[in-house]
Structures are given as C-alpha cells and as structure tokens.
C-alpha cells in the first residue's frame, strides 16, 4: 500500500512536467494544426538558459532557494517565449499558406537546428545545476516520505496550467485565441488580428515549456542538449492521449501518462514501462480516436 502510494506520487511528479510541455504542443496544434517538433528543444533551451542566468546573476546563495528557483523560471520563460515568437515568425509564418507537410518539415528542421545550436553553444557533455539550491526536506504522508520540492513542483505546474486555462476561457484575449482556433477566416472577419493571436500562442507555449525545463534542471540536476527528444515525445503522447488541441486534455493526459508509467514499472516490468504506456495509448485511441477529452472537436483549446 505504501509502495503504491509512493509510486502514485512518483508518477504524478513526472506527469506534471509532461503536462506542462504537452500544453505547448496542444496549443499550437489547436491553432494551426501543426505539430511543433521544435517544442521539446525549446524546453531544453529553457533548462540551459536557467543555468546560464543562475551563473550570470550569481543568484546562488544570495536569497532563499525557492526565490532563486522562481526567479529563474520567470526569466527563462520570458527569454524562451521570445525565441518561440521568433521561431514562428521565421520558420512557420512564411509557410502558413503552403502545404501542411511543408510546415511539418520546417518544424523538424527547427528542432534539429535548436538541439545542435544548444550542443555547439554549451557542449555535448551533460551540464549540471549546482546542488544545494533547493531545500531537501521531505514531508511524511501516510508513512511515505515525499520530498518537499516534488510537491512544490507539482503545485507549480498545476498552478501554471490553471492560470492558462483561466486566461483562455475567462479573458477577452483568451476568447480571441479560441476564436482563431475554431475558424481563422471568420475570426479575421470579426476584427481579430489573427497574426498577433498566433504570435501570442507561440509566446505562451514555449514559455510554459521553459518553466518545465528549469524545474527539471533544478530538481534532477543533469541537463543535456538532447533531453528535449524524450520529454518531447512523452509530452506529445500525453497531448494525444488527452485529445490534441484540448488544454484540459493535455493536463489530464500528462498526469495519466506519468501515473501509467510509474505503475507499469512498479507492477509489470521496468523495461517494458514505455511499451505499457504506449499500449494504453493505443487502446484509448481505438475506443476514443480523438483522445480522452477530444470530443469537443469543434471547440478546440
């Protein structure tokens, strides 16, 4: 029982990161029907920029560890959002009216560009966030010790997702985003500036990915130029699991994927963990081809 609970917390912690990255995939897909393959690499970029900022401002030890973490997340989010904006302007906007496959190839190219650029700038070796920034206290729940940072990471990720949900559904700009997702042409006729709405989505998605990157760096310590691939793949899977184009779906899909992985590893086989997760994905897609929450196809985002 204790082990089950421990495994559930393990799965939820990883799942929250998947969900945070999945939001970027799902928002862009909902908006442009484009899978932004470069998103995983923007996540990596966020992790690296966090490390650079930490060194540049010599934040370590100057203030409380949590404040350092928060500051890094905010700064890195800002910078990566800017990169995301430029990515859309340079790699996707010129191709918006061309064949959909062309944009996908451009996305793949951008992904290769980013991961190699990171490798050239920072080197191929793993980089490491200095240890001891974050408190290592653990809190006991039902006889299971859970590191405080895991809980905070989980809460942080959920808070960011809820903020996004609120923004999309309760604000005027959010309505504009939803309108563009449903029908670009009609949105334009209603006086919505489609280009700036799309730019906004490319600010938000990569920003959230960067937040995930810094969290991973701070908590796990090791970052590598190619880590965006495995996280990106899992997050993309999560987005499909929940119903791609659907924001609550991405959150649900991420958390679910994390938990399935942890429980699969715990009770079936570690080596088959990914196979189990993907089997569940395929089963769900057989019975619900649009994903778990994907029924509101007409009302993307």
């Amino acid at each position: 029982m204790e082990e089950l609970f421990q495994q559930l917390t393990n799965g939820l912690a990883v799942g929250a990161i998947y969900a945070l990255i999945a939001l970027g995939y799902t928002m862009v897909y909902g908006m442009l029907r484009l899978i932004n393959f470069a998103h995983g690499d923007l996540f990596t970029l966020g992790a690296y920029l966090g490390l650079t900022l930490l060194a540049a401002f010599a934040l370590e030890g100057k203030m409380n560890g949590l404040a350092v973490g928060g500051a890094l997340i905010v700064m890195s989010m800002g910078l990566v959002a800017l990169v995301g904006y430029l990515l859309e302007r340079i790699a996707y906007r010129p191709l918006r009216n061309s064949n959909r496959l062309t944009a996908v190839v451009s996305a793949l190219g951008a992904s290769i560009f980013f991961s190699n650029a990171i490798m050239l700038a920072y080197g191929a070796r793993s980089q490491v966030y200095p240890g001891g920034i974050l408190p290592t206290t653990a809190i006991a729940f039902f006889g299971v010790e859970i590191p405080l940072m895991r809980i905070l990471m989980f809460i942080g990720a959920i808070a960011l997702m809820l903020a996004l949900y609120w923004f999309i559904h309760r604000t005027r700009i959010g309505s504009a985003i939803r309108a563009v997702a449903i029908d670009q042409g009609a949105a334009k006729l209603m006086g919505i500036n489609v280009n700036s709405v799309i730019s906004l989505v490319f600010l938000i998605g990569p920003g959230l990915g960067a937040a995930g990157g810094v969290m991973v760096g701070l908590y796990y310590g090791e970052i590598r130029y190619d880590m965006g691939f495995s996280f990106g793949l899992k997050a993309f899977t999560a987005a499909i699991l929940g119903g791609i184009g659907n924001i609550p779906g991405a959150m649900l899909g991420g958390l679910l994927l994390g938990v399935i992985e942890a429980l699969g590893a715990a009770y079936i086989s570690i080596a088959w963990k990914d196979a189990i997760a993907f089997t569940v994905l395929i089963l769900i897609l057989i019975f619900r081809p649009t994903g778990l929450l994907g029924e509101r196809v007409a009302d993307k985002l």
Partner: protein
C-alpha cells in the same frame, strides 16, 4: 546518371591526387562520435588525438614524417558510421582509430575490412566484434565477458548476498549484466534483474521498486549519466544501499550529476586511468594534456583512443605506413608495450590481452580512488 558517375569518378580521382600530393605526411583516421548520443566521448577523443599528433609532430613525427589526423564524425549511429568509414577509405588512410559504441563499430567494420584498412576500436567492448575473424581489426579496450567476470568477482569478494542488477537495454549494458549474472555463482542470489530507459530524468519509480526487493547491493551496468541520476535520487529518497557500476560510469561527470555527497562510496570497475599508471609515457602525457586543456581527461575511452594512436605510431615507425604491415606488426611483433592504460598486446583475433580491470571508489571529495587489489 552517366554524368553523375563521371562526376563521382572525377572527384575520387582528384581526392587520390591530393592524397598523393601529401606524400610527405602519414594520415591516420579517427572515426569518433562528434555528434549524437556519445558526442562528449567523441569530442574528448578528438581533443586527445589532436594533442598526441601535435606533440608527435613537434618531436619530429614518425621517422621524420609528419602525422596528419583525419577526423570523421560517426554521429553515434551505425548508419552515419558507414558514411564516415567510406569517407576515410576515400581519404586513403592506412589505419583508422575508432569508434566508441559497439553497434556503431559494427556498422563500419566491413567497409574497412574490404578496403584492407587497419581499424583499432577504442570503446567497443562487445564480444561479437572480434568473433568474425577480421584480420585487420583490433581494439585497445577489453571485452564485455572479461568485465562481467570481474564484476561478479568484486561483488563476491565484498560479501554481498542479495544482488539487484539493473541495465539499460543497450547491447553493451545488457551483455555485461548477463555476463555478471552468469558468474555470480551459488553463494549469492540475483533477486532483481531489469532495465531502465536511458535518457530519462526521473528514475524514482524504478528505485522505489528495487527498494521493495531490499537488495544488499545494486549492480548498474549502464552509463554515467543514469548512474549519477540514480545516486542522486537514492540520496533524495534517504535510501543508502551500495551501488557498483561498470566501466561506462568511469567519467568524472558522474560526480557532478550525483553531487559529491550522494556519489561518495560509489564503486565501479574500469581499466585504470593514466594518473594511476606508473609509466613515464603516462606522466609526460598528463603534463601535456593538463597544460593544453587545463584539466584531466574526463573518461577512460578517450585515453583508449590515445593508446590506439600509440600502438599505430609504433607500428608505422617499425614497418612503414602500409595497412598489411601495420596489421602484421600489431599481431606478431607488438608485445607488452607500456602505454597510457597499461601494457598492450593483441591476440590473433585482435583482442587486447591481459587483465586490465581495477576497482575504483569515489571518496568524500568526489575523486575516483584506485582500490588496492
């Protein structure tokens, strides 16, 4: 199509003419993972060989002939390795050093073999590579079965009874895990045997499961990034069980990833580092390396590349830059040459002879300390 063929022939002709124009130099190929999953190893190999060639040329080269290094990137995949191998064949090198991954080496073996070029692998420890009877294939690294035997013996000597073995499903790690399991014998039991997925960050689900099995020791046969993360997350769980690793964890980055506190007490078996080799060549090398790069080499595998270079230079010095002569020299005349990783001789299959493995432990400063045998 015809034009293409003519074009390619012309290019090949031009290339061979340029090769002829450089008759005053000996070209030695390096095929290494400059990009891809093993990029850090490959870039270290390039660094170390550039230094070796530079030092050699400063000292007058081989019998007065300058050495030129031709580097090709194998991209850490067998497919790019085949391309890299073809390019090195076209460049007309008599011998190639490389590469790191066993599967990657395998992807290039036939190409070198057909071209009659000597290949000396630096980190490819899979048994099968020397089982096909290639006459001009060698390696400066030991074989997996040897390491599996030493790993099992190490665990037995330290009196561990309940052993958990964790690999990462790569051909190397799985092979080592299987070998070790076979050699563990009757007085100890393998109570857990499974694989993690390399490249992930969170291994807490796996550690929770292993903790449930309550082993005396974990034998991890994978690579250093995962080993570092495992140690770090074990310490985060406040779980302290000894962990022993294989030679793929012999990289100082392990301590950076795990943190000195969590890495303390971690043990691994590996061929010895140059700093633990008592030979004049190793001492001179370390001085030159630290002077140029300001640090010690991170990993043993780049030093294996350096030793491949050393034996090649010895062969060319004795017999000239001809592939057949080099291969013959390495097989028959090279005996116990004292290099950076100890004595080197090759058997008829091209495998390195001699027992090479030592036990290392991480001390409280995060240094790798050679344990007395």
């Amino acid at each position: 199509m015809k034009h293409l063929k003519i074009g390619i022939t012309a290019i090949i002709l031009m290339l061979s003419l340029t090769a002829a124009a450089f008759a005053g130099t000996v070209r030695i190929g390096l095929m290494a993972p400059i990009t891809g999953a093993f990029a850090s190893e490959g870039q270290d190999m390039r660094k170390i060989l550039e230094l070796m060639a530079e030092e050699l040329n400063k000292a007058g080269g081989i019998n007065g002939i300058q050495v030129e290094l031709v580097v090709e990137d194998d991209g850490s995949t067998p497919r790019s390795a085949a391309t890299a191998a073809s390019r090195l064949v076209a460049a007309g090198v008599p011998a190639v050093i490389g590469t790191y991954g066993s599967a990657v080496t395998q992807g290039s073996q036939d190409i070198y073999d057909e071209a009659g070029i000597v290949q000396i692998a630096t980190g490819s420890t899979a048994i099968r590579l020397t089982a096909t009877g290639k006459k001009r294939f060698f390696r400066t690294c030991p074989r997996d079965d040897e390491q599996g035997r030493v790993a099992a013996e190490t665990l037995r000597k330290q009196g561990f009874k309940k052993i958990a073995i964790l690999h990462d499903n790569s051909a190397y790690a799985k092979g080592l895990a299987d070998e070790a399991k076979q050699h563990i014998g009757k007085d100890a039991a393998v109570i857990f045997f499974d694989a993690l997925t390399p490249g992930e960050r969170d291994y807490s689900a796996i550690l929770t499961k292993i903790k449930g099995a309550a082993p005396d020791v974990i034998l991890f046969t994978g690579y250093y990034p995962e080993a570092g993360l495992l140690l770090r997350q074990m310490s985060g769980m406040k779980w302290s069980v000894p962990m022993v690793g294989g030679d793929a964890t012999n990289n100082t980055d392990l301590v950076k990833i795990a943190g000195t506190e969590a890495a303390k007490g971690y043990r691994f078996i590996s061929p010895p580092m140059p700093s633990d080799i008592d030979s004049p060549m190793a001492k001179i090398f370390l001085v030159a390396y630290t002077a140029k790069y300001g640090d010690m080499p991170n990993s043993i595998w780049s030093v294996m590349a350096a030793d491949a270079f050393n034996v090649l230079v010895a062969a060319i010095k004795a017999r000239g830059a001809d592939s057949a002569a080099i291969a013959d020299y390495l097989h028959t005349s090279l005996k116990d040459m004292y290099c950076l990783t100890g004595k080197i001789s090759f058997d008829e299959k091209g495998d390195r002879i001699g027992d090479l493995y030592r036990l290392y432990e991480v001390d409280e400063q995060g240094k790798f300390v050679l344990q007395p045998r």
